[in-house]
Amino acid sequence: MSPGLYIAQQIINGVSLGSLYALVAIGLSLVFGILRMTNFAHGDMMMVGAFGALTLGAAGVPFELALLGGIAIGALTGVIVERVAYRPVRGAADVTLLLTSLAVTYILENLGILLFTSSPHDFPIPEWLDSSYEFSDGQITFTQVNVLTVVLTGISLSLLGWFVTRTDMGLGMRAAAEDMQAANLVGLDVNKLIVVAFALASGFAGLAGVLWAAQAGVVEPSMGFTPLLKAFVAAIIGGFGSIAGALLGGYLLGALEVFIVAFLPSELSPYRDAIVFSLLIAFLLFRPYGLLRTTREVKL
């Protein structure tokens, strides 16, 4: 197999994985940006979205609609969690919010176990999705799920880009992320902006959950945990709280993980996650504001 085609194949794999990381990392960053809170329950919105789509699919809803349903169920769960769990403790010490989000994680995952048991469920995908494109005699392959992932990520991110640069509400969300009090003083309804941030973030997570399940072929209540950790690393690399940073970090991390396995000696492959988390530590030590975020002190 020619090295050029091999590299091209790895880039395809990296972009596909990176898209999922970017979708989840952007949600983490949206919420962190506006609330200064690391939402550990964010990964569970993937699980909720995936199980939502699974349930709809089992009820006979076509996959395309079940996918939209998964996004909507993820978004709705995010909004409910914000209202019920986070809003009452807003303004409390940072560690309170952090612990609350851990509690929400346990509640959602155990709810998942209660409803669906802890064993993995098959995630059926329609025939058109269960195929792949092959080029150069099968030396380059991308599955239909890869294509769908990249396309849907592209559409979602374009919509988000339009929202945060062209609409009053999107601009307001960026303003509130930068300076909550000043946002209050220009008359922005910060509560509404926070709800919208949670809806967007959780909707993205729901989408990522459905796509993740479609790639893996299975769903289980704990499925959100690993992607959450990876998205956390991606968000830190890019600059926590920055949307563009989360995007960049997501794709960099996806590419890095694929390349570690593809290009380093195979004895190193088992250390993939160790290398990734070492990178996280290195960033926290030497560039805690990430690649894109500039240091700015917030004066209160």
């Binding site: 303003a175 946002a183 003083l185 910060v190």
Partner: protein, 247 residues
């Protein structure tokens, strides 16, 4: 040198206001009023409670006791967004422009609270006429502006709400004297056009040059009040009220 209180309720009236910052009593028992069309200055040393009063009017802080009234109706329990919609805009201390957004986007957000969307473009043009440098920097990110330009933007952003009362917190702070003069010339122009302002300033001279009346605060209480002319002619009394030096 007291002012007889007007018969109709003034635009803004504060009665016996008490505000705490945690365990610290920042404001204890301040009463003041601002009539429509008036420019009133709040003077006093650092920590006298001036900014605390403005932040309480805007709803960022809740008073422990006392009232803030707009047109005679209490507003001190309303959230900040409601207070902006009632017509009070606040240009905060330290400018607080949105540094990641452009000048034009900052102005756009200043107008989000308005119901009369159709008048917004004309007002934006007015701001660019008032501060031509902002027109030049329209598409520039606000974080890259100089301190003086940011102050102009903060002022323009507040004016984009078409407020009935403009709260100004230290518009001269950390800005070159030449720019301060230009900003206060613009404020004078706004005053002639009938804008009502409550101005917090440490720079007594510029403040009394603009204001009709002033209150001097010392450690959270009004220590002196009078017309700007009277206060300008009694500089020693102002300094005394400021610093608390008594004979």
């Amino acid at each position: 040198m007291s002012n007889p209180p007007p018969l109709a309720p003034p635009l803004l009236a504060i009665e016996d206001l008490r505000v705490d910052y945690g365990a610290v009593r920042a404001v204890h028992g301040v009463s003041l009023h601002v009539a429509a069309g008036e420019v009133v200055a709040l003077l006093g040393a650092n920590g006298a409670g001036k900014s605390t009063i403005l932040r309480t009017i805007s709803g960022l802080l809740r008073p422990r006791a006392g009232q803030v009234q707009l047109d005679g109706a209490p507003i001190h329990r309303l959230p900040p967004a409601r207070i902006v919609r009632l017509g009070i805009a606040h240009s905060p201390e330290g400018r607080r422009v949105f540094g990641n957004l452009t000048v034009a986007e900052n102005l756009r957000l200043g107008a989000t609270s308005r119901p009369d969307r159709d008048k917004v473009p004309a007002d934006r043009e007015r701001m660019y006429d008032l501060f031509p440098i902002l027109r030049e920097r329209m598409h520039q990110v606000a974080g890259t502006l100089s301190g003086g330009e940011q102050q102009m933007l903060a002022l323009a952003r507040a004016l984009m709400a078409a407020p009935r009362l403009l709260l100004l917190d230290e518009p001269s702070l950390g800005i070159a004297p030449l720019i301060v003069r230009s900003i206060f010339a613009t404020l004078g122009e706004l005053k002639r056009q009938g804008t009502t302002m409550l101005l917090v300033e440490q720079n007594i001279n510029v403040a009394l040059g603009l204001a009709d009346r002033a209150y001097v605060l010392r450690t959270g209480e009004v220590s002196l009040t009078g017309s700007a002319t009277e206060l300008r002619d009694n500089y020693e009394r102002v300094a005394e009220a400021y610093l608390g030096a008594r004979q």
